[in-house]
């Protein structure tokens, strides 16, 4: 910006003739776009082109006979989509199941991470001795590398030698015998617990930052009006955090819904009760070696996420316009 303001001033000193100045103007206007080109190329290479390739692959019968040379794969039109969406067939049925499991995991994880994050942020709002230490401690799960963290959880959840069963069953006698955590129904709980543990520090961090912008005098005014803790939370904190929450919830949603690492490291191939959709798609492609089908599933997932995100942002904008 400052460049465009100062530029006319020193232009005559460098450029002697008037016509030359006129010719230079459009170049200068192009500069921001030229500067954007590397970013645009990177964006194309990293996101747009792979996405388009994925869409293209989803229209092919890309089986083992063609994976070395995709261009030779026969064109299948929408066949792959039909197989993926036929909920009476085994492929579509499993995909739908995986989608519902992922949705359930996401709802619980986003809610859990947000509640924990908000609670911690609010309680650490006022200074007290040891606040900085606690804040650092709370961020540990977020700072740990995913692999280290999840593999530790995996050891803890093992049936015979895991710490979870040792504490729950042998020490506290809360459960009878040693239940499985990495197989069957409990695997869902294990996955939700680990995901909340991993994500709540991010919510905490974001909300702590958001709380800095809430003016202290609002709390004072509320206190004078006789508002208690809950009332202050409902009438001051939450409304002022709304813009932060809007972004935070969306990010938490996308991260959890798309998460591959946690479930993959925890289970390698997740049991049906914890069948996260990103791993399901990966496995579906490799199990029958039909990469076209896998791509069709990915495109469907992309479409769903896009719709959810647009609707979410749309309703948010509508609401803020009405307010």
């Amino acid at each position: 910006m400052s460049d465009t303001i100062t530029a006319p001033g020193d232009a005559p000193a460098r450029a002697p003739g008037g016509p030359r100045r006129r010719r230079r103007r459009p170049t200068r206007n192009l500069l921001p776009y030229v500067l954007l080109v590397p970013a645009l190329i990177a964006e194309l290479a990293i996101h747009i082109i792979p996405m388009l390739v994925g869409v293209w692959m989803s229209l092919l019968h890309l089986t083992q006979f063609f994976i070395r040379n995709w261009t030779a794969a026969p064109y299948g039109g929408l066949t792959n989509y039909r197989v993926a969406m036929d909920t009476h067939g085994p492929v579509g049925k499993d995909l739908l199941h995986s989608f519902l499991i992922t949705a359930a995991v996401t709802v619980l994880v986003v809610a859990g991470a947000w509640v924990f994050g908000l609670a911690a942020a609010v309680f650490l709002q006022k200074p007290f001795r040891g606040r900085a230490t606690l804040r650092t401690l709370f961020l540990v799960p977020y700072a740990l590398p995913v692999f280290t963290a999840v593999i530790t959880w995996r050891f803890m959840f093992q049936r015979d030698s895991g710490m979870v069963n040792n504490v729950l069953s042998d020490e506290l006698h809360l459960v009878h015998g040693h239940p499985f955590w990495l197989l069957g129904g409990n695997s869902f709980a294990a996955l939700v617990i680990i995901n909340i543990w991993r994500l709540w520090p991010f919510a905490f961090l974001t909300l702590t930052a958001g709380l800095q912008s809430v003016p202290g005098d609002l709390y004072e005014a509320a206190a004078i009006d006789g508002a208690g803790f809950v009332r202050k939370l409902r009438s001051v904190t939450l409304p002022l955090l709304r813009p932060v929450n809007r972004v935070l919830l969306l990010v938490l949603f996308l991260w959890t819904f798309n998460d591959f690492n946690t479930a993959y490291i925890l289970f390698n191939q997740p049991p049906a009760n914890a069948d996260m959709i990103s791993i399901h798609i990966y496995n579906a492609s490799f199990i029958t070696w039909n990469f076209g089908l896998g791509s069709a599933m990915s495109v469907l997932l992309l479409a769903v996420l896009l719709v959810v995100t647009l609707v979410y942002l749309g309703t948010g904008r509508l609401r803020s316009r009405h307010a």
């Binding site: 290479a45 990293i46 082109i49 792979p50 388009l52 390739v53 293209w56 089986t63 083992q64 006979f65 994976i67 070395r68 040379n69 995709w70 261009t71 064109y75 197989v83 067939g89 085994p90 492929v91 093992q158 049936r159 015979d160 040693h178 499985f180 990495l182 197989l183 069957g184 129904g185 390698n268 191939q269 049991p271 049906a272 579906a284 490799f286 199990i287 029958t288 070696w289 039909n290 990469f291 089908l293």
Partner: protein, 437 residues
Amino acid sequence: MKARGIAALAASVMLAAGLAACGSGGGSDKSSPKTLTYWASNQGRSIQQDQQVLGPELKKFEAKTGIKVKLEVIGWPDLLNRILAATSSGAGPDVVNVGNTWSASLQATGAFQPFDDATIAKVGGKAKFIPSTLTSTGAAGKPPAFVPLYGLAYGLFYNKKLFADAGLKPPQTWQDLVTDAKKLTIPAKKQYGVVMEGASYTEGSHFAFMFGAQNGAKLFQGGQPGFDSPQMVAGVKQYVDLMAGQKVVNPSNAEYVNDSDMLKDFAKGRAAMMMIQSYAPKGLAENGMKEGEFGVVPIPVINPLPPGGRKVSSHVAGINIGVFKNTKNKDGALKLVDFLTSPDEQKILDTQLGPLPVVPQAYNDPKFQTPEIKTFKDILANSAETLPMIPEEAQFETLVGNTVKQLIADAASGKTVDDQTIKNALTAANKKMQTGG
């Protein structure tokens, strides 16, 4: 027609762009043909052990040929996916190990250098290898896509002391095995009749094939999958029932992904029997079990066999080695294959890692004249069947193997697993094969 041409052009442009973008992340160093990338399968007790064994040997190869070999050892749960990913991206290793049962499936991708007469001559010729090991190197009527590297067979390992204490002899029939296993299962002492690698899909698929064959099953008929035939249901039940109906397996085994847990349980006397491939003695020794404390017999067969049933107590198991067509140094890659399959290297690698040599001269070594190795040679000669060498074989392994794994997990967590549940699960796998493949 025209639209398709344009689309194909667009796709190849995108493909080229995509490859250019991720090319730098590829495995092999294409700039210097003096290096080779070798993906080895996990044969020893751990990936580190494989690296320790192969490292010095590859240094010898470098000293001999001046070619540096970059080694990556890949665990079984990931190996097939990694190879497929390398095949589709074109950025892969130069030389690779594969489970020999995948040979025809991987051959169909066209990504591997065929061992036609001229090529196989460069690694010592067909006559170099034991003939039975050549039965699983690719589809019939085509030049093989791989050559054998390690030979393996399943056997039943039993703990001599536990058997003697219970007054038992090693089982001769499958029925004996089940009765013995029941006697040897004492959960209060944390002792079970059998230990299994319940969460391994490869193991699950091998046993589904072997026990299916004992019950008379054919996996494919005229190219159509028959995973849910009554014979396959009976075969899968025979295996899963050790956990489900007979309860002679510790439910925790459903979490065992690698064989290290299984070897440990057996070596510590927590299980009296273990069905595992011939590399096991090495792993047992590392877990403190001495030779002589365990015995090996063929995995027993149902007696009498059901109609159509075949006497199969192992598949012709093993590891093959192949060369990616994309290699920039084909001659060097073939030299490495020749080196690793030479009698001297076979002796070193097989004694340290535990499998059977694939070249006859190696057996001259007294280390390969133990009773166990004799048993395994007999199994391969008399009661082993090759898995079908057709392109759909690898999909059978992943689909049926994962089904078996899931059934074992269900049984371990207390769900009912009976004929009907098994049949339904196998029918779903069969349909996936038909619609997906």
